[in-house]
Symmetry: C2
Subunit: 109 residues, 2 copies
DNA sequence: ATTCTTTATCGTAATATTGCAATATTAAAC
DNA sequence: GTTTAATATTGCAATATTACGATAAAGAAT
């Protein structure tokens, strides 16, 4: 085997896992931090910022995009990538809800 | 190649990525939800709940434990797994901070 | 039209993850 | 001490991820 059995889980579980998975790499965390910090959000700037080759960055951006965490707007021959606040909010909301459920029961450890 | 170049990122970036990575699988999300919902938290219950073989569950639990998301207490010959609220809080705090930074600038897309 | 700049895709090697059967470990129960 | 029950570890096959060089694509600048 080796492939995740996604069909056994709820749509929401798969959705949250897929967002978390996209954030599960330090380069992609670094990209998110850069996009949150900086005023411009040109792909080339990210390539300069991170210690990875351009194709690798492009691949990471694609994964963040597929997870809905960022979106890209074409600006001339460059591309401006930005954080999609909705997806971040969705993830946050999920965790807040999980923490709430946890508060309601006696965590036994 | 194929291995993540962790040495190029900050300790915090690696830490957050590793927590997110642990949550990046629907089975592990399902385990977290189960632990947040249910009053007992015996490993065997998780095995009964999820559509995976016992060794696979054990492996997923190990990963959640390595990421600091859960902890296990021995109870007789069973093991009681519980969510580690501190790690959840750390992750939440990180995202809240990221969202705050985002608010301070003009998200250009 | 050609060249330059920027980003994406392809191909591929190295490594990691997922899942499970078989087996080991550990502690309770008898 | 044997057996039973619960969890962990090992070993392995299938698949996925990571990283990058080479190359393609698409628009800007000349």
């Amino acid at each position: 085997m080796g492939a995740t059995k996604t069909e056994h889980y709820s749509q929401n579980q798969n959705a949250i896992a897929s967002i978390a998975k996209a954030l599960g790499h330090p380069a992609r965390i670094a990209i998110m931090e850069f996009l949150a910090k900086v005023d411009t959000c040109i792909c080339g700037d990210i390539v300069n910022e991170l210690p990875l080759a351009q194709p690798t960055i492009s691949q990471h951006l694609k994964e963040l995009k597929n997870a809905g965490l960022i979106q890209g707007n074409i600006e001339g021959n460059a591309i401006c990538y930005c954080i999609n606040e909705k997806t971040m909010a969705k993830l946050q909301g999920y965790f807040i809800n999980l923490a709430l459920k946890l508060k309601k029961k006696n965590n036994c450890c």
